[in-house]
């Protein structure tokens, strides 16, 4: 076992992990942050997306020890300080951007990274950015709407209801 230390959602954390321990396992099993989901475990589906030093990564395809010393942000750190939903989360609720909700943590984390780099993305840019995040319920339209809305743009351009 090796000691790993990282800042998760603003808090200093540390734990003992094996070489093979994935970042997703460290977050879920060691820290109890189960908002980061494991869907496919093969880096296809994107439910495990978190930010490492501000960049989106699939935490099921990164070793915990690779994140030693890093700043990690997960879905648990996204809400406002008073516990209310942040702009992106609220937009997902308002625009029905989720049904079963399994993909939602990854979708919100990807959306947050997109809007940080590109505050006013086009519909096409949103769809391209989400190519590594799979949703099996919504058909994506309402997710795209939610992200457009979170960026302060008109959602009527998205064709399907």
């Amino acid at each position: 076992m090796s000691k790993v230390t990282m800042t998760v959602n603003g808090r200093a954390t540390s734990g003992d992990v094996e070489g093979r321990t994935l970042l997703s396992s460290y977050l879920r099993d060691t820290l109890g942050l189960t908002g980061t989901h494991i869907g496919c475990d093969t880096s296809q589906c994107g439910t495990c997306v978190v930010h490492v030093d501000g960049k989106v990564v699939k935490s099921c395809t990164m070793l915990a020890l690779e994140a030693d010393g890093a700043v990690v942000d997960t879905i648990e750190g996204q809400a406002n300080a008073d516990g209310s939903l942040n702009v992106i989360q609220q937009a997902f609720q308002d625009h029905h951007g989720l049904q079963c909700g399994f993909c939602t943590p990854g979708m919100v984390m990807s959306a947050a990274a997109l809007l940080k780099d590109n505050p006013k993305p086009s519909e096409s840019e949103i769809r391209k950015y989400l190519e590594g995040n799979l949703c099996r319920c919504t058909g994506y339209h309402n997710i795209v709407k939610a992200i457009l809305a979170a960026s302060g743009q008109d959602v009527s351009v998205v064709a399907a209801e």
Binding site: L65, L114, Y129, E131, N133
Partner: protein, 262 residues
Amino acid sequence: MYNFEFERPSSVDDAVQSLGGEALALGGGQTLIPALKQRLNQPDKLVSLTGISELNGISMLSDGRLSVKGATTHATVAEQAREHYPALADLARHIGDPAVRNRGTIGGSLANNDPAACYPAAVLGSDATVVTNAREISASDFFTGMFATVLSDNEIITEVRFQVPSSANYQKFLQPASRFALTGVFVAKFADGVRVAVTGASENGVFRWADAESALSANFTQSAVENSSVSPDGMISDLHGSAAYRASLVKTLTKRAVAAAS
């Protein structure tokens, strides 16, 4: 995934010292970690290359070549190679998805030499030089077959030096589930001729399409390759596409790349 020892050295020399035996170098892990989960590989030690600052970055060399250090991520190439070699940046910008591009590295991709990976086409198509801790290897010598290269077990790709063509383009036809290239073609026009490198098609991995190169060197238009064709012999055939389908894709994608590069 079976357990292994993990090391994260801060210099190439230390990394080379740590390799050997059943140890493996770990780039961004976007292929190796899934492979370990499937127990397709069982190293007793992984030596991470992501903590080595000398393996990161992009710069123009005084001889006009573009240098990309071995552990540079696809996202960094997509962003920083744009002004120097737009076709290479564009290729990097379409590998995998944003999260994969933030981890995956050029050296990892080349060392793995997946028959459907994008970078091998750019490296062969640009007549690039693969630099390791031990030697410099011409692109035409580097790739030796599906998932095979001339790299030895304790050799690390430290840098790739690309010749920058006057114009170039990469076209790929996506396998929609994996998002790898079902087939991809990199066309590069240099002052002394055109190079056409094909990935995702041959059972032997990336290759140059010589007929198209001579036709396009004489006349850089789509119609120049109209009468050329690639033999389906030795092409990959699977549930996603037959050998004949891939051979047809090679020509179609070559024409698209020529049109986009013209």
